[in-house]
Subunit: 701 residues, 2 copies
């Protein structure tokens, strides 16, 4: 449908008619608004980009053309929360003409049954080829002073606890919200990161994020807290520019997910659906990973990454065979073999080793360029012996590439480092970017690093390597296109519990925010929450009950999951550990049974290719009773449910290890009313009954 | 010898006693001075470094230790101006102790018979490991308002004409001296680059430079024009820091060469001698190169680097086989074969091809990151056919890697690009860094890029590839250690004549300044100096006579020399071209016969492994008569000299192609009085007579 110059607004609805997107030009300025079931979600909001040294793309437009279309396709992810994902939307593409400069820009809107995605496109044209973005000016005008679940906007870290407050309170709370980190660069008293969760006074949930962040700068949101308008705030480069573009090019999608039902936010597939289909012909080498590793002992300070206590080393010059080992090195051949034994015994896919390679003595806080070579082991880590031992035990090794933020150094070594992995039985790598970025002046989330992370993932695919990137930009659904990007950290994970501790509610918020873009390597499974028991010099503790740690394998979706604790702690609680051994990491179906951000989330997930289900509940600092129905089960089947729950007197602070395990028979008619301790939760494995004999001695729930 | 705290100065002399270096602490501040034959060259000058976020290394020192030593060794360069180089110096190493911080610093002085080198060293120690340099504060206090031959200090280009003025006049002349360039960043009204030539009122020449610039930022000099003190001014990085250091580490050497004889400056080996010996076991693959190439036709605008006239392309997306060629592409298979034929016929080693690869449509001025892939040819350049043709003709191909300053992109492709060279018969590469550096904010001469240039050279050696780096940091003698760094441009070369023109005196200054650090790919040999004859849209001309172009092969020392003009211009003057064919590019001996910076230079050089000599004179814009003796020849031999000189009415502007050739007999007793036109000169090939019959019909000079 073609609308003539300056005339009425363009409108499209979602396939089910629930969402309505309106676009129009107001005095040549593009604006949009979004409503859901008649309720405004995004009020009139401006669109456009401010350019450097050339007229901006903010106004002076006329509509040259509009195109509407529909898309409806169901696709299967290589790994995921569900087997089939339906991508169904109505699309409106508006071609804008900026008369004075003879330039064109397209804004493409896709309206789904649970929200909206839109992006800017710069088609091939004479008058707009190379341009520099000074700032993107995409607004999200909110209809009121919503409750926000936010972390400070920061160009270099996302490792914050969430704050829950009215939007109007963000400014006053910002100073207290900012925390130290190996690399941190906040930018505004009202700047926040995405994905951002909001909840209106009348109980509507809204999520703002982006999808398909490629060759562009990561978007934060700056709040105009007088008018309650969020505006895009891109990450600058070393000289203050926000993006370098060459048309034809598209920006990432900006997404608005909305629902009255919190679970719908969690189950939205908008982010994945806005990404391109899988780019790889062969994905047979991409497999979910359940792993253990030499890591928590260093995080807790029980052992070290470094081999010696030298204050500094020089790769290729320091002869480690001549140095005096500190005796605290974690990644020794013997210790790693112990973990390999444990993994093999308990059915884990892989063993991660951190601290295996030269350079850990002075890896952090020195702005050291040639910090690692990713190839040279310490004298007490025998690459060959580990390789052969793991191979004989049927266990894969997981590589660790800490870069210390020195990305040129990483790229210089990357091919050899990946080949080293292939040669030695490492098919996945945990990469890290701890500390300020080198080249100095760049930020973790700027276009320069977004390009680098992508380069690392695509090159890894050439070697059939899966990548789990920590401290990288938070994901935006790119794993649909590049499924070897199997996870990121890119938020505050379990390690922070060992450093300083984290609020008990943290995992009741993360799925609404961080996980909207992709899975998180949260590294749960801590059974010994009192860190002083591991390292007397620490007085920190993990703000969780043991039962909730089991639940996290279900509530923190990831195809890559670590049983992070020391093996000896699992050996002390083999009955509880059984859940971690049993829990699947790839799913045919997922249901949200209960969800209130900041309070609790309960998921039920069906293990891929089976009739088995797993349920998990994570609970905040308030003791609560969870009430769920098992109506997701097949009506004609019986199941054995093993319920791992908090004891009545459990408490994340005072009595974390008090748990109960009971085995019961369940059917689709079953219901559960389960107490969850403060910082607690429960986990349930639900196995289809194949033989009646299994039911012997068990009662119905 | 150990001196007690605060006592008298330390002094060492050169081996021949001519130079005297004095070091002392003045109120804990290190100072030095240098005299030559009793005449002060450098007055009392401070030493030290200003550090960031930590106490500086500027004062508060005591002398902990001094060590004196002598070194005398003669070594042979892989290629050079002479066969043997004597490295003979007296050394003083002063260990300074900064009490308050318990830190040590060593200043090492080496005094040669023609000057001084000194550097800072930071030994391994507890209290000084990682540090950031805010500014190096090395002074060179001059004894008066000397004449300086200078170019503006600039973090991104050296492609300036030289200014000759009193030091006190630099400030007033700076604005006029600054010229446009694809990338230029000046920093001060009295900032100049090195190497800097000075001449005192009483005729003493002084050169200030640095040697062995590795893992450090390039040094400029800022002049305090009240006190006539030059001080080191390092190139900043994107965030304004000047260097990132990890002890143990040394800085580059700061050099002061001095003599009453201008020729001694030219013949000084201090820069090479201060560099480490050759790092390669095998150097058999490193050979001087005389080449022609598809280049001048693009520089003059006769043809293009690009294949099409598209305003922009995207590598991997633009299908060049579907585009419309402009018909102006220089690097076609046919054209290259023509050059290969010419090279084979006239005994040239190699043919350079520029514009062979996709990406030239939008290579400059766009800040384009993925600008070249260094692998993919345009449709009309057949890599295989060119390879086989060159091989059959016994000619090597010379690769071209223009990076457009996008150094991450170059490094990402470097291994494959070098392997491509090996696979296709290219054993040398001309690399380029035209335009502002990407990562943005970095400069061509900062530590980040110095590290990159070194990386490129060392990696090239793994592939047995020689590197000729244009727009890179000016050399500092590193080719002693890495002799595959066979040349740089890194100054204003012949191409500028085609762009705008260059003062006729330029090549009478360059050997005193730019060439002190290493050879220059000056690309001389232009026979048709009127560019409008090649491209009617240009009105520029080369400020030279034809005869002077021949001389440059002798006066502009380089193991890599181009006959840069179009073959058809050589074919019009085959008699003159004979000199270029005959001239050697590697030498057993070199003599400076006449030298006055800014006016003229005359060299005589002995071709390696022969008894043949070549003489060259370059002359400024004033007609002059050169008077030389041939007493460098063997007393017991006869030689045939072919003298290529300006005709009496030659003039670089009005009559450049008027030259004369005469063949005469010469001996060690011969003398020559030869007229040189404005912008002129002469070249002489002197061949040992092997058979008396050669003398028939010839007269004595």
């Amino acid at each position: 449908m073609l609308f003539t110059l300056g005339l009425s607004a363009q409108s499209i609805k979602s396939p089910n008619g629930n969402f309505n997107l309106t676009f129009e030009l107001k005095d040549g300025v593009p604006v949009y608004q979004l409503s859901m079931g008649g309720e405004p979600i995004v009020k009139e909001s401006k669109l456009g980009l401010e350019l450097k040294d050339t007229p901006s793309l903010l106004g002076g437009f006329t509509i040259e053309n509009t195109e509407e279309s529909t898309f409806d396709e169901t696709w299967q992810p290589v790994w995921g929360e569900v087997k089939d994902i339906r991508n169904h939307y109505n699309e409106l593409a508006v071609t804008l003409n900026q008369k004075e400069t003879a330039r064109k820009m397209i804004i493409r809107f896709r309206v789904f049954d649970d929200g909206l995605g839109f992006r800017y496109e710069f088609p091939e044209q004479d008058n707009l080829i190379y341009f520099v973005i000074k700032e993107e000016r995409t607004q999200f005008a909110m209809t009121g002073d919503h409750t926000a679940y936010w972390i400070p906007g920061d160009f270099d870290t996302q490792e914050y606890e969430y704050n829950t407050s009215k939007m109007s309170e963000i400014r006053a709370l910002m100073a207290g919200a900012m925390r130290g980190n190996a690399s941190t660069t906040t930018f505004s008293d009202t700047g926040v990161q995405t994905s951002l969760l909001l909840k209106t006074d009348n109980g509507t949930f809204i999520n703002l994020h982006e999808a398909a962040l490629i060759e562009y700068s990561c978007m934060h949101l700056e709040l105009d807290d007088e008018n309650m308008i969020f505006e895009s705030y891109l990450t600058p480069d070393a000289v203050g520019n926000k993006g370098y573009m060459q048309a034809p090019r598209v920006t990432p999608w900006r997404t608005v997910i909305a629902s009255k039902n919190a679970g719908d936010i969690l189950m939205s597939h908008i982010t994945l659906n806005l990404n391109e289909p899988c780019a790889y012909d062969d994905t047979s080498w991409i497999k979910p990973v359940k792993y253990v590793g030499v890591w928590w002992e260093m995080i807790t300070g029980k052992s070290d990454w470094a081999y010696t206590s030298l204050p500094a080393v020089q790769l290729g010059k320091t002869d480690f065979s001549e140095t005096t080992p500190s005796g605290r090195h974690g990644a020794t051949t013997e210790n790693v073999k112990r973990y390999i034994d444990f993994a093999a015994e308990h059915g884990f896919d892989a063993v991660l080793v951190e601290g295996w390679n030269e350079g850990w003595e002075d890896w952090i806080g020195k702005s050291k360029d040639y910090v690692f070579d990713f190839l040279t082991p310490y004298p007490d880590f025998d690459v060959d012996e580990v390789r052969e031992y793991a191979k004989a035990k049927g266990v894969k090794m997981m590589m660790h590439h800490e870069t210390s933020g020195a990305v040129r150094n990483y790229e210089r070594h990357m091919d050899k480092a990946y080949q080293f992995m292939v040669d030695n039985g490492y098919n996945s790598v945990k990469s890290g970017y701890v500390g300020n970025i080198i080249p100095r002046g760049e930020h973790h989330y700027g276009q320069w690093l977004v390009n680098h992370y992508q380069y690392a993932v695509e090159k890894a695919a050439e070697y059939k390597i899966m990548v789990n990137a920590h401290e990288a930009v938070r994901p935006t659904g790119l794993s649909r296109t590049y499924p070897n990007l199997i996870a990121n950290e890119s938020a505050r994970g379990t390690e922070y519990e060992a450093f300083v501790g984290t609020k008990a509610e943290h995992t009741t918020i993360l799925p609404f925010t961080r996980l909207i873009g992709g899975p998180m390597d949260y590294t749960p499974g801590i059974f010994q929450t009192d860190i002083s028991k591991i390292n007397p010099d620490r007085d920190t503790f993990v703000h969780t009950t043991l039962a909730r740690q089991l639940a996290l394998y279900v509530t923190m979706y990831s195809p890559l999951q670590m049983a992070a604790d020391l093996p000896e702690h699992y050996e002390q609680h083999m009955d509880a550990f059984q859940f971690i051994k049993d829990v699947a990491i790839d799913w045919d179906d997922t249901k949200v049974l209960e969800a209130e951000p900041g309070d609790f989330i309960t998921y039920a997930r069906k293990a891929k290719g089976t009739e088995n289900w797993f349920v998990g509940r994570t609970n905040d600092e308030i003791g609560r009773t969870s009430k769920i129905k098992f109506d997701f089960l097949d009506a004609d089947k019986k199941y054995i449910a093993t319920i791992y729950s908090d004891a009545k007197d459990a408490h994340y602070e005072t009595n974390p290890q008090a748990y109960e395990i009971k085995k019961v028979i369940v059917t689709s008619k079953s219901k559960l009313s389960q107490y969850c301790a403060p910082g607690g939760g429960y986990a349930i494995s639900i196995m289809e009954v194949k033989d009646k004999s299994e039911l012997k001695g068990l009662k119905r729930l």
